[in-house]
Each structure stands twice: as structure tokens, then as C-alpha cells.
Symmetry: C2
DNA sequence: CTGCCATCTGGCAGTGACTGCCTATAATGA
DNA sequence: TCATTATAGGCAGTCACTGCCAGATGGCAG
């Protein structure tokens, strides 16, 4: 019963599959509806039922796709596929520069529409504490997963833990500053500077 | 209820008051009951109702005191009073060393019983993602509040944001490492080393 | 000691997030 | 085209959390 995973489709990765396409389209529709409603009425005032109705799916489906209400804001399609173009570089002598390159690459692959969407999501993330909490943990876990994939044996080491967490912290600090300054400028320099601070250390700062 | 001598006759003006004392005692009783039940049955399997019953209070009271279920784990009495002995030092040339001193002072003021309690709480924090998320946000907010109190005008600056978040990240990394190594050693050296890494920067690390 | 006032605890009822189970339906592979 | 399998939707239930009201309790002036 459970020992029967006959690989319904070993996923040659070339074909997205029709079902998968419909699901992804529905997720986009649902997230778009959710963001609009959250922006207008506030996160807490909008029930999942309303989101489902606006996106023309069943509430059960929203839960199946996103798992939790906060994920309606946090979910990023890019997280689905792109595991990391950074994997090989991470082990390099200078992990900060590797991350910098990865972040740059991520931003470069981003359209204007993508950036607009991110702005809306970040605004909501920092407007709703529950969402911010979930997003922070989400970031930690993504970061830990990358670290574990690159250096499986060093995962528990103190240096690794501190670096991973400090990196996420610096990144979130940059994101938060971007939000606090009303998304005026391009966020990339912020992240860049955050990483530089991390690399140089805080001995003389402030 | 039990051995609680009211006798507030010779009480100086600075006394917390009898009601406040009863409340604090109840909070300790509730947290103790909660931790025990969570450790035995798992966080999700224990309803607030059960915690309330074990602590001999009404469920409504648990919510009134702790606000959210995760706070039953996160709440730390020390947070109530001690705002920060670090306030004056923070603005010094070397903020990392100021924090190091503050952390040391915090640990020094800690009894063995305190440390045991913290171990239990940290174990639960990292066993339950929802609690970890809440604790992380809680840490961020505490850190931001300190920063805002010390340097009200620099709060939104990128450097401040990055430093505050990276500091919390490093601290949480040390805490997590302590947990991953089964709380074997004294945690202070971990935090110490985390702060050193933060101060020196990560250019050559790993 | 006593009665009055402020505050607090507890019970009640309601909202809404989230889950397990089952059925209808749509996609996939032969 | 047909059999198989994955998937969306509906139903019912649990539980975290909140506002509201009544009863109890501590604090205090007379």
C-alpha cells in the first residue's frame, strides 16, 4: 500500500505536465486574489473562504496548495524550481562573495513584474507580524537546506550555524530597510552592502 | 491557595503588590505545567484546556496571561523587569563588545535552575517550528527595541538594520548549535564565539 | 472592621484556521 | 478508447483565540 511508488512519471523535467500547469496557474490566481484582498482589508480581516471565492476555487484547495494562510504571501514561484545556482560556489574560500554572486544572479533573472510582486509581498510581510515570523523561519530553513546540501558534514558546526543565521539576518535587515524607505531605490545595493558589512565584520561600525 | 502569606503590612513602596505576585506565581505554575505536557505529548497534541486544567486555572486566564500558545514556551520572566544594563554601553565604539558584556552579565545573573529551565524551553523551541518562528520574531523585536532606545535616530539606517538582524542571527545560531550538541557544554562560549565571528567578519571563514 | 470601588478570573458563545475522510472528476498511460 | 491514478471539492470536526458579561477578590477610605 505504501511501498508502491511506481514513479508515476519519473519527471524528465522537460515536460511541466498539464496537471502541474493548471495547478501553478491556480496558485498564481489564488495568490493574486489573496494579495489584493489583504492589501484592501488587512490580513486578519480576510478569511480563506473569501480568497477561495475570489480565485474561484474551493477553500480546501487553498489549504492543499499553500498549507497555511501566511504562505499566500510568502510563496514565491522561483523557490519551486531553482534549487540553487550557488551550490558549487558555496564551498569556495569566500562564501560571502559566492552568496553575493548568487543574489545578483537572482535579481538579474527578475522581470519588472516580478519585482513589483515582491514589493507587494514584502510590504505585507512587514505589516503583519504573523507573516513576518513565518517568512523569517522560511528564510532560515531555506538557508539551512542550502548549507546542508553544500556541506553536509559541517551542518551542525557552530561556525556554520552562526554564518547561516547571520547571513539570513543581514539579508532580512536589508529587506527591511528597503521596506522602511518605501521601496524607493533598487534593493540590490542594499543586499550588497549588507553582505559587505557581514564580510568585513562589525568591529568599527556605527 | 497554598502557602501564600498575605501579610503585606511592612511592605515598602517598591513592592510589586500582592495581586502582581499571585499573577506571577500563576504564570510560573502555568508555564511549568505547559512545558511538562508539551515534553510528554508534543506541543500540538496538548490543548490549552489541558494546560489550564493542569495548572488549575481557567483557559481564558491562560490566554489573558500569555496571549498565544507559543508564548507558554517563549515567555521568560527576566524579560519582564530587566530592560537592559547595556543601554549606555551600546553607543560605544565597539557595539559587539558591548553586547558581549551584556550577554555575559545576563548569564552571570542566572541560577542553575534558570539554566535548566532555559534548556527545556530551547529544546521545545527547536522541536516545534511554530514556536521557533515566534521566538525568532520575538528576538528580532526585542533587539530592535533596544536599538531604538539607544539610537532613536539611527533605527531605520541600513547599517543599523543589518547589524541588529545579524546579531540576532548569530545569537540564534549559537543557541541552535547548543541545542544540536544536546546542551552538553556551557552555552556562553558559543555565544562568545558567535559574537567574535560577527565582529571579525566572514571573509575567510569555513 | 466595614462597605465601596477598581480590577481580575472564569464561563459562554462565536469566529475562523486547519485537517481527515470520502466522492466525483479530470488527467495519464497503455 | 478504456483502465488507472492523481486531484479538486464537500463535509464534519478540532482547537486556537476573542469579546462580553457576571461573579469574586484585592485595595482602600471611612
Amino acid at each position: 500500500m505504501d511501498t508502491d511508488p511506481p514513479a508515476p512519471s519519473a519527471a524528465p523535467a522537460g515536460t511541466p505536465g498539464l496537471q502541474a500547469r493548471k495547478k501553478l496557474a491556480a496558485m498564481h490566481r489564488i495568490q493574486e486574489a489573496a494579495l489584493g484582498l489583504f492589501e484592501e482589508h488587512g490580513f486578519d480581516a480576510v478569511a480563506i473562504e473569501a480568497v477561495a471565492a475570489a480565485a474561484e476555487v474551493a477553500p480546501r484547495t487553498v489549504y492543499r496548495y499553500f498549507g497555511a494562510k501566511e504562505m499566500l504571501v510568502i510563496w514565491d514561484e522561483a523557490d519551486e524550481h531553482a534549487s540553487s545556482p550557488l551550490t558549487p560556489q558555496f564551498a569556495a574560500a569566500d562564501p560571502v562573495d559566492a552568496l553575493r554572486a548568487a543574489v545578483r544572479a537572482g535579481f538579474a533573472a527578475m522581470s519588472d513584474a516580478d519585482l513589483r510582486l515582491i514589493r507587494r509581498r514584502v510590504a505585507l510581510i512587514y505589516r503583519v507580524p504573523a507573516v513576518e515570523a513565518a517568512f523569517t523561519l522560511h528564510s532560515y530553513e531555506k538557508s539551512r537546506a542550502i548549507a546542508a546540501a553544500v556541506a553536509p558534514d559541517a551542518g551542525d558546526r557552530l561556525d556554520t550555524q552562526v554564518f547561516v543565521h547571520a547571513f539570513v539576518g543581514a539579508f532580512l535587515g536589508a529587506l527591511r530597510h528597503w521596506h522602511l524607505t518605501d521601496f524607493d531605490a533598487n534593493p540590490l545595493p542594499f543586499v550588497d552592502r549588507a553582505l559587505t558589512l557581514l564580510a568585513q565584520g562589525f568591529t568599527d561600525t556605527d
